[in-house]
Amino acid sequence: MTWVGQRLPRLEDPRLLAGKGRYTDDIEVPGLLHAAIVRSPVPHGELRGVDTSEVDVPGAVVLGPAELAEVVVGRMPIVWHMPGDFQVDRPLVDGRVRFVGEPVAIVVAADRYAAEDAAERVYVEVDELPPVVDVRSALEPDAPLLYPGRSDNVMSRWETGDTAEHTDAVFAAADRTTSFRLDIGRVSGTPMEPRGIVAVPEPDGRLTVWTSSQAPHAVRDTLAAATGTPQHRIRVIAPDVGGGFGLKDHLYEDELMACVAAIRLGRPVKWVEDRYETLVATHQARGETVDVEVAYDLDGRLRGLRLRAYRDAGAYLAHFGGGPLFTMSGMVPGAYTWEAVRTEAAVVATNTTPTGSYRGFGQTQAVFVVERAVEVVARELGIDPVVLRAANMIGPDQQPYATRCQPVTYDNGDYGAALLEAQRLAQAWPEPPDDGRLRGVGYSSFVHMAGVGPSQGNPHVGLDVGSWESAIARMEPDGTVRLFVGTSPQGQGHATTFVQLAADRLGVDVADIELVHSDTDRSPYSAYGTAASRAIAVGGGAVVEATSALGDRIRRIAAEMLEAAPADIVLADRKATVAGTNVSLSIAEVARRAWQGWALPEGDEMPGLECRFAYDPKQYTFSYGTHVSRVAVDPATGVVEVERYAVVLDCGTLVNPTIVEGQVHGGVAQGLGAALLEEIVVDGDGQPRATTFLDYLLPVSASVPDIEVVLTETPSPFTPGGMKGMGEGGTNGSFACVVNAVAAALPAEAARDLVTPLTPSRVWHRLTGRS
């Protein structure tokens, strides 16, 4: 019996179900003060300071830019730089405000109610400047500049893939070319738990910080750099985290302000975001315009793909800089063979909320672009889009496959098989009723680069941090185990899956193992944290190696104690047994011996029972799949219902298939939401218009049909344990899939230039041909 592969109900559930979860806002310490943030009411201006003369809340303290600058002597790092990026880090406040909602000051009081009373009496003194609120305006020659030392609002620009000359030649040689534009709407990841932080100055002079974060070490490092505090004097702990999805991958300015307040006042300070603040200040995502050109032959062969892509960065580059758009441009070839793929990309600043990481990190958009290209070409040729895909897919015998966007090289996989399996699932769907609604079936096939990633390559792409992971496996004298990892869960079930991996290699029960994570004092270093579908592949890889090594040592010591050969020792059911006999010891007895430290085998004399392994992947992992959906579009109203949905996903080793399915379900819902419902809107004055859950519409249960998930398992040849990252495999496919299904129900000409989300208004206008 192995633990890996079992659909084990999660070990962390009973606590969470009983309301015993401990999220950041649940943290209480004696003497706690509560904060509210003062935010810029205008989108652009010179910040002169704050006027606190009308604050009338007893005991409230305001820290404005001047007070903050006394503590924040350093800068907040940005960890991914494209060539030519000027913004490699940022100060906390630099004399300008650049978006409505930008944090300017912090108010601390006895409770949150009082802090808000005080905060609304703090007046932000700003000399307003004209704003630019969209990329096109920001690129106008006489546009107001967010960074006056620069000549324009371009934050980052690059080209990937083939040269212009080669691409032009391929386009010229092809039978036909076609073009269309995609406006990918801006979204907000909105985990159900808002951001939050509790900063506690300790009696010994250290600072303990509790925060809802995906990357406690990144938070610590930024906090240390910004305040000039040595890293070893800061402890960052992420307690239970209610969802992250990328946007909790770094320390934010408002969170930093809460830490500054704690440091300056010598008192613990808690700040928790409210939902208005989520929708205005938490980093958003996407907001891209892509002009797509496709070159193809009349027999259906895809030849060239050329993109001009812009991303709205918002007011400044986020923690991972231009990473999402860069990733899009690298993964846009998709599952197909092309002769030329070229992207010219630019990230442009506007006076809006910054955009950063969100599940998919550019791969959702890459899949969207190439899968729309396939659908548009198929429609122009009048052939079945499934046939067109299959004819152009990279075959399993062509793997490993070096795409046109080096250094991306896929590892293994049969993309066509996944496509055909998805088609079989769709063909089994019952015919829809004749209810006057238009039906559309859409597919999306994709390759998912995950398991980020080989650290050796990072400096070459401008990434300042490593992307390896380590694990320490320590068996206590009684045979129970503590497993220390650098990654952090926000609902992915690490406390179960990592423990399953370890239990198999140690011969103990899952109940005997505790996962220790998300505490910079105890967890091994991880600058990247949980992101990029890397935890089970990279973190799990480290766990596999560390626990395998520990298991080997247990076998050697047991062999010594049992006078057998280590190769004959089997670890299972909490026992070390000589194979083929009933001669055994409990693993606890072996552990006790290891910690006693005597009579240990030759070469293994160092006492103790703990192994560390740092795993730096040599390759990314590439999982793949196909999504298929059917939508019903009401022509009278434009309302779209997703009626049917199926996913075929090839993963690496499936540690816990139920948890994998859950990740797919949630990712599908997020892609569906972005395709149909979710839209961040900023008006011409730079004022956010989607500021509550009544405007920003998340999928509800009725929005998401039951999802058929077929998982296949192709272990990675590289990852210890064979895992491949898949956490984004749901969202990467679903955005394109749902849009393709709706587009299939629209007239061809109305399905070329698309704007997402496909709201009822947009759909209705396209169906009726009215502008």
Binding site: D634, T692, R770
Partner: protein, 281 residues
């Protein structure tokens, strides 16, 4: 976000409530279920200095159904109204509309009187009241008056209720014939992009009375009077329904906003006519 400071009063009887409203005037707001008011207060978009809660007053809850009207005490919750089979039988359009209000958990506290008084242009109940030619009873220390729905809603989130008046009762006269409600929402439970309360009375095979009251198409509920006229004296067949739908589009001119264009909303109104009317024969 947390609400701004206020004083909460829950007087033990009606006189106490009316006295508190008279005393505080514009500085006070009435809170009943709080399901519309508290979201605004939690954003500090509404900041009354005094909240007057009538929850201890007797006689403001309950539903009475007669042949002529459904009379609802203002503090009756949406859930309580939905639990009345008599309402569902007498005025199905009302029950169907209330079933669309928010979510179950909101309906457990939200009141009929509160929803009418809140006058959200996208809300169901003001449109139903208008469609029934209904009225509300307003009481103050100055006396009691009855206000017809047509005179009650005077703008977005605005009624002609004076600050010192308490809405105590909502009367829905039952229109002749059959009634129904339908709406188009982005997601179930959302504020509708457009909603329709319709009632049609057929006699000798032709329409004798028709009501069409819409939510979500303007700054207050709207009666499509001209479109109602188009149905009179005709059988309720597909042609009549189509003509009526076209007339609705011509008569109402909804504005563009964040959620939908005006042209789209007009189309939604027409779609609702086509969806709802055929079932009212």
């Amino acid at each position: 976000m947390k609400p701004a400071p206020f004083t909460y009063l829950d007087p033990p009887d009606l006189d106490g409530v009316l006295h508190a409203l008279a005393e505080h005037g514009d500085d006070a707001a009435v809170i009943s279920g709080g399901q519309s008011l508290l979201p605004l207060m939690n954003l500090r978009l509404a900041r009354p200095e005094v909240l007057v809660d009538p929850r201890r007053v007797d006689g403001l809850r309950g539903v009475t159904v007669t042949d002529d009207a459904v009379v609802v005490g203002a503090l009756t919750t949406a859930t309580e109204l939905l639990e009345s089979p008599a309402v569902a039988a007498a005025l199905p359009g009302l029950s169907q509309a209330v079933a669309c209000v928010g979510h179950l958990q909101i309906r457990n506290r939200g009141t009929i009187g509160g929803s009418v008084a809140h006058a959200d242009p996208s809300a169901e109940l003001p449109a139903v009241l208008l469609g029934c030619d209904g009225e509300v009873v307003l009481r103050s220390s100055r006396g009691t008056r009855t206000v017809a729905a047509a005179d009650l809603f005077d703008g977005p989130f605005s009624t002609t209720r004076e600050p010192d008046e308490l809405l105590t009762e909502v009367r829905f006269p039952v229109p002749p014939g059959r009634s129904g409600w339908d709406e188009v929402a982005r997601r179930p439970g959302d504020f509708a992009l457009a909603g329709l309360f319709a009632a049609v009375d057929l006699a000798d095979g032709v329409v004798r009375d028709a009501r069409l009251a819409f939510s979500g198409l303007g700054d207050r509920p709207l009666r499509a009077v001209a479109a109602e006229q188009v149905l009179l004296g005709r059988p309720l067949d597909a042609t009549a329904v189509d003509d009526c739908a076209d007339a609705v589009v011509a008569e109402l001119a909804p504005p563009d906003d964040v959620h939908a264009t005006g042209a789209h909303r007009a189309a939604l109104a027409a779609a609702l006519v086509r969806r709802l009317l055929p079932g009212l024969t």
